[in-house]
């Protein structure tokens, strides 16, 4: 009797292993619907964020007096968005023809995660593509990493997977380098040597770092941030500048996706 009970209980004890094994199989097996499943989850995030006003959506529900207050706040917000869109237009004026796609930012995990990523309420149907730069005002804030039908995921500049060629403008010549995020609040700028016989240039505190003209990610000279301090990391012979982004990237509300017109 006891042995038969044990035999009957054993499969229940192992049930959680099946769940874990199923998840691992999903992660590593080349299943065709994986991207679609993730895109569905991203769409669900967007819909929930839209439905809950406090979660970053724009739905405004309240009493009539509250409504007036919310409308006034909405007017201020839209004016700010217009200003940002105008400065984005100024940034791209006179350059290669581009299309500006304004988008509302939806939070993903907020401040609970080491990844610095957000979702935008724009997707494939709006013309957004993977790899397009995302700017807020005149500042580059990230790039599009994944696109679903009505939403997309943006890797912010401070995310560990973000890399961009950047430069510091100086009278004696530009300092080219690689700017990368590492999950902290600042970015690391590592200068590169363009001429083998020249000394390695070091960034100086207070200098502005812009996206390089040679960058394939962002062909417009968007500002990325300002050098906050200069340090020499242990084990690395290079001098590195810590760059603070111009904007608080995790508090963004509206951004603009820049799309070259010839890619369509």
């Amino acid at each position: 009797m006891a042995a038969s009970t044990m035999r009957r209980r054993r499969p229940q004890r192992r049930r959680h292993w099946w769940v874990v094994a199923g998840c691992l199989a999903l992660a590593f097996a080349p299943l065709p619907g994986k991207r679609r499943a993730r895109a569905l989850a991203l769409e669900l995030h967007r819909k929930v964020a839209r439905a809950v006003p406090l979660a970053g959506g724009s739905a405004a529900v309240g009493a009539p007096t509250e409504r007036e207050r919310l409308l006034a706040a909405e007017v201020v917000r839209l004016k700010r968005a217009l200003l940002e869109a105008n400065s984005s237009s100024e940034l791209v004026r006179g350059r290669a023809p581009v299309e500006l796609i304004p988008a509302e930012v939806l939070p993903l995990a907020g401040g609970a995660d080491a990844l610095h990523r957000v979702a935008l309420a724009r997707g494939r149907r709006d013309g957004v593509e993977v790899g397009l730069p995302v700017i807020a005002g005149d500042s580059l804030v990230g790039r599009v990493a994944e696109v679903a039908v009505g939403t997309c995921e943006v890797v912010l500049a401070t995310d560990p997977s973000f890399r961009v060629r950047a430069s510091i403008a100086r009278a004696e010549g530009e300092v080219e380098g690689l700017l990368r995020g590492d999950g902290s609040e600042t970015l690391a700028f590592e200068p590169v040597l363009l001429k083998p016989d020249a000394p390695l240039p070091a960034p100086r505190v207070g200098e502005a770092v812009t996206a390089s003209r040679a960058s394939r990610l962002c062909g417009i000279p968007a500002v990325l941030g300002v050098v906050e301090r200069v340090e020499r990391p242990p084990g690395l012979g290079l001098v590195q500048g810590r760059v603070r982004p111009l904007r608080a990237l995790l508090d963004l509300e509206r951004v603009v996706v820049v799309k070259p017109k010839d890619t369509r």
């Binding site: 989850a41 907020g110 609970a112 990844l115 590492d182």
Partner: protein, 182 residues
């Protein structure tokens, strides 16, 4: 008992049963839709409760509470569902984070069976440790996949987020008790 009183109590009995059934049905509906409620709560906490750049991870907290009150299989399934729902960024292979969360939830559930659960503070202690391990393991998993991740600030941020989650444990326990009575 007089005949009239017996008749009254007989009349009342189905009504009480109906109310209980309504309550159980409501809890059932809440349980079925809980991932969506938790997703809304997670996004709200991320924007409104952030202190010093850190906010509590609602999915981890919910997975821990369910693991403490339910068998390992169910706890792992619930945690895996939350993991799949929350893993929308393409930094990790889809499903890997769900496997991590399911494994940790199953471990907590097995630990509950092994421990004397009537010890004062045992549940809070185990769940606090779970939240810390959950956040730290997430950072380590990300560091394995993204070599550029600065480990020290990410771990500090994870500890802050876990402590924030620990501060919310009494609310979670109260909610569990309320739903568990049904």
């Amino acid at each position: 008992m007089s005949g009239a009183r017996v008749a009254r109590s007989r009349r009342r009995a189905p009504a009480r049963g109906g109310r209980e059934a309504d309550g159980t049905a409501l809890v059932g509906v809440l349980a079925l839709t809980s991932p969506l409620w938790l997703l809304a709560l997670r996004q709200t906490c991320g924007t409104t409760l952030a202190v010093g750049g850190a906010s509590p991870e609602v999915f981890g907290l919910a997975a821990g509470l369910v693991a403490w009150t339910r068998p390992a299989g169910r706890a792992a399934a619930f945690a895996a569902l939350l993991g799949l729902l929350g893993d929308v960024s393409n930094a990790l292979p889809y499903g890997l984070d769900a496997a991590r969360l399911a494994l940790l939830a199953a471990a907590v559930s097995r630990l509950r069976c092994a421990l004397a659960t009537d010890l004062p503070g045992a549940s809070a202690g185990v769940l606090a440790a779970f939240l810390l391990v959950e956040r730290a393991s997430r950072v380590l998993l990300l560091a394995a996949w993204l070599p550029g991740l600065a480990l020290a600030p990410a771990l500090a941020h994870a500890v802050l987020s876990a402590l924030y989650g620990v501060a919310l444990l009494p609310v979670g326990f109260a909610l569990c008790r309320t739903l568990g009575e049904r």
